[in-house]
Amino acid sequence: MPDPKDGGSSPEPRLPKIEARDVWKIYDTANGPTTAVENFTLDVADGEFVCIVGPSGCGKSTFLRMLAGLDTHSAGSILIRPGADPKKPLNSVVFQEYAVFPWKTVVENVAFGLQMRGIGRAERLDIASFWLERVGLRKFANYYPSQISGGMKQRVSIVRALANDPEVLLMDEPLGALDAQTRIVLQDELLRIWEETRKTVVYITHSLDEAILLGDRVILMTAHPGRLLTTFPIGIRRPRTVETLNTPEFAELRGEIWQQLAREVSRAMEMQQ
C-alpha cells in the first residue's frame, strides 16, 4: 500500500487527485464472504467530473463511502491527494437522503463543516450566506429543514459540501429522491456551480442521461460483484446546460454508449455463466 502522505509533498499537476487501486470490499456474512466491490481501480484528475453509473446494489455507493473514509476497504489502496492548503478537508459527501440535520437551521447546516473545523461564528455564517445566495436560498437561511421542500433541502446539502471547500466533492445519487422537474432544475444548477468552481467530483447516479450530461467521463459498473465494466470519455464541450440534452451530439453519444453497453452487458452475462 502506498503511503497516503506521498502525494502531499510534490503536488505535480499530472498526478491524479484520487487514486483508487485494486479496491475490494468483502463482507463477512453468516453464509460466508460476499464481494460487494471487486478489484476496482479509478484515477480522477484534478478538476475532473467523473460519473459512476450502475444498477442498484452494484456497490457504487459502497465505493463512494470507502472513498470518503466512512467505510473500510478490504484490500487495495485509496488515496486523495491533499492540495496546497493542508487545512482544507479532503472530501465532503452529498448524500442521497439529503442528510440535512433537521435540528439545525438552513444556515447552520451549511456552516456545519466550517464550525467543526473551528472557524469563528461570524466568518462561517458569512461563507454560508454567500453560498445560500448562490442557490437562491438566502431568505430561507433561518428556516428549519422541515419547513422547506425536498429540492431546497438537497440544495442545502450541496452547498453544505461546497461551503466546506473540500479537495474532492463526493456525490451519492444526490438527485435520486427528487421529482423529474426539480431534478432538471438542479442538474442545471449543478452545471452552473461546477463551471464556477471546477471542483474534482465523483458523482454516483443510476441515470445514464444524467451521467453523460454532467460528466467528463462516465464509468459503468456491473452488479454482483460490483466491478468496473467500461469507461466512456464524454467529449461534449462545456459549458453545458440542460439544453445539451436536446442536441444531436448528445443523442448520438448516448446511442453509441447504449450500443456498447448492451454488448458489454451481454458479454459480462456470458462470462458469468
Partner: protein
C-alpha cells in the same frame, strides 16, 4: 341556532336551495334528539325508575348528548370550530361534575364515599388556608404570610413556611430525584446506544431491573441510608426509577438514529463530544422527551406511594392521613392536588421540550 346557520351558509357558498334543505334537516334532527333527551329522563322520573336505574339513565343521557353534539358539530362554521371543540373538551367534565353533585345531593350515592364536588372544593380551600397544628403542616406553606414572617424572622422564617408545605415537600422530592436520575440515565443510555460492548453487557440487567416495581426497592434503600426515615431514601428511589427508564429509552433513541446523520456528522468533521452534542443528542431528543414524560408519571407514582408508607409530610402523606381520620373530602382534595401537580409538571416538560427542540414546532 339560526345565527349559526347564517354563518355556515356564508362560509360555504353552495346552491341556496340545497343548503337550506340540509340546514333544515339538521335542525329537525337536533330538535328530535333534544326532545328524546327530555322524554327519556322525564319518563324515567314519572315512572319512579330514575332513582333505582340512575346509571342506565346516565348512559342513555350520555349517548343522546353525543348525538346532539355531533349534530351541532356538523353545522359549526370553520371560524367557530375551535371554540366548539373547546366547549366539548371542557364542557363535558363540568357537566359530569354537575351530574355527580346532583346525584349525591339527591341521596342516590353516599356522600361519605362520594362527597359532592362543592364539598371537595371547600375542603381544598380549607387545607390551603389552614395550618394543621397536629402534624405541623399546611398545603402550600401559607404564602400570604411570607412578608410578615420575613419581617419578624428574616429568611429562616420564610424557609420554615416552605418547610411546612405538603406540595413543596412532594415537588422537592420529585424534582431533585428526577434530575439526579435523569441526567446519568441519559448519559448511560447514550453510551449504551453508541457502544455495542457496553450495550451487550448491560442490556439484560437493565431490562430485568426495569420491570421491577420501583416501590419494591424502597426497603433496601432505607436499609442503605443512615437515616431511613429522612429525605435521602425517598429521593433515591425516585432517582433510581427515573434512571433506569431514561437509560433504556435513551438507548433506544440513540440506536434509532438514521445512520446517514452519523455519517454526515463524521464526514463534516464531528468527533466524540462534538458528534454527541451536534448530532446524537438532538437526533435522539424526541425519544428522550417521550422517556421523560413516562419517567415523570413513574416518579409521581413512586413518591405518592412512598409518602403513603413513610413520611410526615407530602401530598401522599396528606391523602393517607385524612383516610386515617376518615375525612373523605380532604382525601379527594389530596387527589385533586396530585392531579394538578401532574398536569403542571407535564406542561413544564412540554415547555422545556419546545425550548430545546424549536425545530419541531
Amino acid at each position: 341556532m339560526s345565527e349559526a346557520g347564517k354563518l355556515d351558509a356564508k362560509a360555504m357558498p353552495a346552491p341556496p336551495g340545497r343548503v337550506a334543505n340540509r340546514q333544515a334537516g339538521l335542525s329537525k334532527e337536533l330538535a328530535a334528539v333534544v326532545a328524546a333527551l327530555v322524554v327519556w329522563n322525564g319518563a324515567l322520573v314519572l315512572l319512579s325508575l330514575w332513582r333505582p336505574l340512575w346509571w342506565a339513565a346516565l348512559i342513555g343521557d350520555f349517548a343522546l348528548i353525543v348525538m346532539a353534539a355531533e349534530r351541532v358539530g356538523r353545522r359549526v362554521a370553520p371560524a367557530w370550530r375551535r371554540s366548539y371543540e373547546r366547549t366539548l373538551a371542557f364542557g363535558f367534565p363540568v357537566l359530569a361534575l354537575v351530574a355527580w353533585q346532583m346525584i349525591v345531593d339527591a341521596g342516590i350515592l353516599n356522600p361519605l364515599w362520594f362527597p359532592q364536588p362543592t364539598r371537595i372544593g371547600a375542603a381544598l380551600w380549607d387545607v390551603t388556608v389552614h395550618f394543621d397544628r397536629f402534624s405541623g403542616t399546611s398545603l402550600l406553606g401559607r404564602p400570604w404570610l411570607i412578608p410578615s414572617r420575613f419581617e419578624s424572622d428574616g429568611w429562616p422564617g420564610v424557609w420554615a413556611l416552605f418547610a411546612e408545605s405538603h406540595v413543596w415537600a412532594t415537588l422537592g422530592r420529585v424534582g431533585i430525584g428526577f434530575v439526579i436520575g435523569a441526567i446519568p440515565g441519559i448519559l448511560l443510555g447514550v453510551i449504551m446506544g453508541v457502544n455495542r460492548t457496553v450495550r451487550l453487557m448491560l442490556d439484560t440487567t437493565l431490562s430485568a431491573i426495569y420491570v421491577l416495581p420501583k416501590i419494591a426497592i424502597f426497603p433496601i434503600v432505607m436499609l442503605i441510608f443512615a437515616d431511613p426515615f429522612g429525605e435521602g431514601p425517598k429521593i433515591a428511589v425516585v432517582a433510581l426509577s427515573v434512571f433506569f427508564l431514561m437509560a433504556i429509552n435513551t438507548m433506544a433513541g440513540v440506536r434509532d438514529i438514521d445512520p446517514v446523520f452519523l455519517m454526515a456528522g463524521r464526514n463534516y468533521g464531528a468527533r466524540g463530544l462534538s458528534l454527541l452534542w451536534h448530532v446524537i443528542l438532538p437526533a435522539a431528543m424526541p425519544v428522550i422527551f417521550a422517556g421523560l414524560r413516562l419517567a415523570l408519571g413513574t416518579a409521581l407514582i413512586v413518591i405518592i406511594s412512598i409518602e403513603f408508607l413513610r413520611a410526615k409530610q407530602g401530598v401522599g402523606f396528606m391523602t393517607f392521613y385524612y383516610w386515617e381520620v376518615l375525612n373523605p373530602e380532604k382525601m379527594y382534595a389530596g387527589l385533586v392536588v396530585v392531579m394538578i401537580l401532574g398536569v403542571v409538571l407535564t406542561y413544564g416538560l412540554q415547555w422545556l421540550q419546545q425550548r430545546l427542540m424549536p425545530w419541531q414546532r
